[in-house]
C-alpha cells in the first residue's frame, strides 16, 4: 500500500496548477465560487481554453484528439480545477456521446461529429427521460418511424439540460414494440434546428432555467443519423454506464465546496467567535470531511483497480450514492453557516453585470439556491433508489 501519487502524477499535478493559474480568470473563478450564473460564453470559452491545450477531451484516445489521460490523471485534474473554481466541463458531447460514437458509430459519424465536439461547433444535449419514463427509462415512448431515407420522430423528452443552447440532441427513441421494452429502442442524432422541434423551458424550484422539455412533431431525421443498428439503442446507452467511472463521485467539486464552507465558517462570528470554533458546527463539518476523505480513497481505489471494469456498474452506483449524499450534506452545512442570510433571494445579483446594492455577505447569495438546486443530484442520472436497486441485484444477487 502506498497512498501517495507517483512522481509522474505529482509532476502532472504541478502542470495542471500552472495551467489553471495562467488560464483561469479570477472573474470566472469568482462566479463559480459563489454559484453565480454562468453564461453560454463562459462555458464555451472555458472549453476552448482547455481545447487549445489539448486537455478538453481528457479520456479520449490520442487518435481522436484526446489527452488520453489515465483515470488518476483525470481525477487530479478534476481536483485541481474544482479547487481553483474552474467551470465544470459540459459532459453531454464529450463524456456521454463521444464514447458511444467511438465504440458504435460509423467511420463517417466519427469523422464528422468528434472534431465538432472538440472545437465547440456542436453543443450536444441528451434526450433520454420522458414524462412517463424517468426511473423506468425503458418505457420511453417517443416514436421514430422509418420513411424512405428518413426517420420521422414524434414525442417528448424532458429534463433536457441546457437544451436552450444545444445545436444537436442524441435521443433514445422507440423503433420497435416487439419483445421486452428494452429491445425496441434506437439511438439517433438529431439537429435541434430541424422543423418540428420545440424547446420549452422548465423553471426549477429555485428559479433557474437549466432544464427543458423538447417536443418532436413529425421531425424528419436522416437515416444516416442512426447509431449502430436499429433496436440496439439500449445496449449503447448502457455501455455508457459501464464506461463512465471518473467524476461520478464528484470528489473535486465536493472538496472545493467543503473548503468554501470552512471559509464561510471563519468569516461568520457568534459573539465575536468564529463559527468554525463552535463545537457543534465544527463537529458537523468534521463528520462530512471524514466521509469525503474516505470516499476520495474509495474513488482512487476504483480508478487504480485493473479489474474494475467487470463490476463497473455497481461501483458507479456506490460512488454516485455516497458522492451525492456527501455533496448534499455540504450544501446543508453551507446553508447553516450563512444563518439568516439564507433568506434573501436577489436572483439578479447572480447574473453578470449586476450593479445593485449588495445584500448580506458576498458568499451568501448563491448558497440557498444551490442547496435547493442540488436536491436534483440524488434524482437525476438514475435516482439513488435506482442505484441501491442495482447494487441489490448485481452485487448481492437479491
Amino acid at each position: 500500500m502506498d497512498l501517495s501519487f507517483s512522481p509522474e502524477d505529482l509532476a502532472f499535478q504541478a502542470e495542471v496548477r500552472d495551467f489553471l493559474k495562467a488560464e483561469l480568470s479570477p472573474q470566472l473563478a469568482d462566479k463559480v465560487r459563489h454559484n453565480k450564473t454562468l453564461t453560454k460564453e463562459d462555458m464555451v470559452g472555458w472549453h476552448a481554453t482547455l481545447n487549445r491545450r489539448g486537455w478538453l477531451a481528457q479520456d479520449w484516445p490520442k487518435q481522436y484528439g484526446g489527452a488520453d489521460w489515465t483515470p488518476v490523471q483525470q481525477q487530479i485534474f478534476d481536483d485541481e480545477a474544482s479547487a481553483a473554481c474552474a467551470p465544470r466541463i459540459i459532459p453531454f458531447g464529450l463524456k456521454m456521446l463521444a464514447p458511444v460514437l467511438m465504440k458504435f458509430g460509423s467511420d463517417a459519424q466519427k469523422a464528422h461529429y468528434l472534431p465538432r465536439i472538440l472545437d465547440g461547433t456542436d453543443w450536444w444535449c441528451q434526450g433520454y427521460s420522458e414524462p412517463g419514463a424517468g426511473s423506468d427509462l425503458a418505457s420511453l415512448k417517443t416514436r421514430a418511424v422509418r420513411d424512405g431515407d428518413h426517420y420521422v420522430l414524434n414525442g417528448q423528452k424532458t429534463w433536457t439540460t441546457l437544451a436552450q443552447y444545444a445545436d444537436m440532441i442524441f435521443c433514445l427513441v422507440r423503433t420497435g414494440t416487439e419483445g421486452k421494452p428494452q429491445e425496441g429502442i434506437s439511438f439517433i442524432l438529431v439537429d435541434m434546428k430541424s422543423p418540428g422541434i420545440t424547446v420549452r423551458p422548465i423553471i426549477l424550484l429555485e428559479g433557474t432555467h437549466e432544464v427543458n422539455e423538447v417536443f418532436f412533431d413529425n421531425v424528419r431525421v436522416p437515416a444516416e443519423n442512426l447509431i449502430g443498428e436499429e433496436n440496439k439503442g439500449w445496449t449503447y446507452a448502457k455501455y455508457l454506464l459501464t464506461h463512465e467511472r471518473t467524476n461520478i463521485a464528484g470528489i473535486g467539486p465536493s472538496k472545493a465546496a467543503l473548503a468554501e464552507v470552512k471559509r464561510i465558517a471563519k468569516a461568520e462570528t457568534v459573539r465575536g467567535v468564529p463559527l468554525s470554533d463552535d463545537p457543534y458546527f465544527a463537529a458537523r463539518v468534521a463528520q462530512v470531511e471524514m466521509e469525503l476523505d474516505a470516499l476520495s480513497t474509495t474513488n482512487l481505489r476504483v480508478l487504480s483497480s485493473p479489474d474494475a471494469a467487470a463490476s463497473a456498474g455497481s461501483i458507479s452506483s456506490m460512488l454516485k450514492i455516497k458522492g451525492t449524499e456527501i455533496r448534499q450534506a455540504i450544501n446543508d452545512l453551507a446553508r447553516r453557516a450563512i444563518g439568516p442570510y439564507a433568506m434573501p433571494f436577489v436572483s439578479e445579483a447572480l447574473e453578470e453585470g449586476y450593479n445593485g446594492e449588495p445584500i448580506g455577505p458576498d458568499y451568501a447569495l448563491g448558497v440557498a439556491p444551490d442547496y435547493f438546486n442540488n436536491r436534483k443530484i440524488s434524482i437525476f442520472g438514475g435516482s439513488n433508489e435506482i442505484q441501491r436497486g442495482i447494487i441489490s441485484k448485481t452485487v448481492m444477487g437479491l
Binding site: L204, L205, R335, R336, P340, E357, F372, R375, S383
Partner: protein, 379 residues
C-alpha cells in the same frame, strides 16, 4: 387531559382554512412575493375582515384571543396555505411588542393593525448578529427630550412595507448584553431611515435597513429605557411558536402530496408506492410529523408557565420543526423525483418554506445550545 381545541377555536380554524382554500392560489402568492409590497393587500384585508389578525391579540388590547393556542391554530392553517401575508411581522412581532410594552397612546395602533390598515415590522437582527437575539450594536443616544438612532438592521421581515417599525437599539452595555436594550417606534418614512427591500427564497419579503441619525421623540420609547430584553425574548418565543406551527401545516401538505404521488405515479408497471423502500421512508415522515406536532402542543401548553419552562419548550419545538421540516422537505422532493424540482409543481415551494423556517429566529443548532443552557438554569 384534553387534546381537543375549544369549539370556538375549531370554528375559527375552519373559517381560516375555508378562506384560504377559496381564495388563495400558489401562483398568485408567488406573483405577490415579487411585487414591491411582497404580499396581497386584498388578501390581508380579507384576513382582517375574518378576524384572523385580531385572533392574535387579547381582548384587553382590542382583539379576541391572543393565547398561545390561538397562535398555533392560526399559523398551522397559514402553513397549509403557504400564506405569505405578514402575520408574523405585523401581528406577532411588531404588534406583540407594542401589546407587551406600549402605553395607552402607543397601543392605539393595535386597532389599525387588527383592522388590516397598518403594517409593522420588528427591526432587530443585524448583519453580525446571526440568531443571537441580544446581539444589538445599533445605538440609541439621548438627545434633548428624544433619542438619536444609528446602526444597521438585517433581513427585517416586512421591513419594506411597514408603516411603523419597532427598532431595537442599545442604550448601554456591550454588544450582546441582555441589559441595556431599548425599543423605539419609528415611522417607515422617518428621515435618516433607508430600506432596501427584496424577496426571500421562500416567497416572503424582507429588507436591509440603515439608520443614520434617525431622531425620535421621548414618546417613541416603547417600555422602559434599557429594559426591553424580557419582552424581546418573550415575543421571539411567540414568533418561534408561530413558526413551528406553520411548519406543521406545511409538512402535512407536503406529506399528503407525496402520499398521493406514491399512489398515482407508475414506473415499472406499478405505482411507486408499492416499493417497500419508499413505504418505510414515508412511514418515517408520517411519525416524525406527529413528534413535531406534540412538541408544538408542549410549547403552547407551557407558554404561560415560568420563563425557563416556556423557553425550553419553545426551543424544543423549534428544534424539531427545523429538523423534521428539513426531513419532510428533502424526502418529499426525493420521493416525487424530478417533478418536485420544478417551479410549477407546488411541493418545492413548501420545501423551500420548511427549510427557511430553520433560518428564522434560530436554527436547530442554536436552539439545541439554548436548550442546554436553559436546562442548566432550570437545574
Amino acid at each position: 387531559m384534553n387534546f381537543t381545541h375549544t369549539e370556538e377555536r375549531q370554528l375559527f380554524k375552519d373559517s381560516v382554512a375555508r378562506l384560504i382554500a377559496d381564495t388563495h392560489t400558489l401562483d398568485a402568492r408567488n406573483k405577490a412575493a415579487r411585487t414591491d409590497l411582497g404580499f396581497s393587500a386584498e388578501k390581508w384585508a380579507q384576513f382582517a375582515e375574518l378576524g384572523a389578525i385580531g385572533a392574535l391579540f387579547s381582548e384587553d388590547d382590542g382583539g379576541f384571543g391572543g393565547a398561545a393556542f390561538d397562535v398555533t391554530v392560526l399559523f398551522e392553517e397559514l402553513g397549509r396555505g403557504l400564506v405569505n401575508e405578514p402575520f408574523l411581522a405585523t401581528a406577532i412581532l411588531g404588534g406583540g411588542l407594542i401589546a407587551e410594552l406600549g402605553n395607552a397612546d402607543q397601543k392605539a395602533v393595535i386597532e389599525e393593525v387588527i383592522a388590516g390598515t397598518k403594517q409593522l415590522a420588528f427591526a432587530h437582527g443585524e448583519p453580525k448578529s446571526r440568531y443571537d437575539a441580544s446581539h444589538v450594536e445599533t445605538t440609541a443616544k439621548k438627545s434633548g427630550d428624544g433619542y438619536v438612532l444609528n446602526g444597521a438592521k438585517a433581513v427585517v421581515l416586512n421591513g419594506g412595507a411597514a408603516d411603523l417599525l419597532v427598532v431595537s437599539a442599545r442604550s448601554s452595555g456591550a454588544a450582546w448584553d441582555e441589559d441595556g436594550l431599548s425599543l423605539f417606534l419609528v415611522p417607515g418614512d422617518a428621515a435618516g431611515l433607508s430600506r432596501t427591500s427584496y424577496p426571500s427564497i421562500d416567497g416572503l419579503h424582507a429588507a436591509e435597513i440603515r439608520l443614520d441619525n434617525v431622531t425620535v421623540g421621548a414618546d417613541a420609547l416603547l417600555g422602559g429605557e434599557a429594559k426591553a430584553w424580557p419582552a424581546i425574548e418573550k415575543v421571539i418565543a411567540r414568533a418561534n411558536l408561530a413558526l413551528a406551527s406553520e411548519a406543521i401545516g406545511a409538512m402535512e401538505v407536503a406529506r399528503d402530496m407525496t402520499i398521493e404521488y406514491l399512489k398515482t405515479r407508475k414506473q415499472f408497471g406499478v405505482v411507486i408506492g408499492k416499493f417497500q423502500a419508499l413505504q418505510h421512508r414515508m412511514a418515517t415522515v408520517l411519525l416524525e410529523i406527529e413528534q413535531a406536532r406534540s412538541s408544538v402542543i408542549n410549547a403552547a401548553g407551557r407558554f404561560d408557565g415560568s420563563r425557563v419552562e416556556r423557553e425550553m419548550a419553545v426551543s424544543a419545538a423549534k428544534t424539531l420543526a427545523g429538523k423534521i421540516g428539513r426531513l419532510v422537505a428533502e424526502e418529499a422532493i426525493q420521493m416525487h423525483g424530478g417533478i418536485a424540482m420544478t417551479w410549477e409543481y407546488a411541493v418545492g415551494h413548501f420545501a423551500k418554506r420548511l427549510v427557511m423556517i430553520d433560518h428564522m429566529f434560530g436554527d436547530v443548532d442554536y436552539h439545541i445550545a439554548r436548550y442546554v443552557a436553559l436546562s442548566k438554569e432550570a437545574a
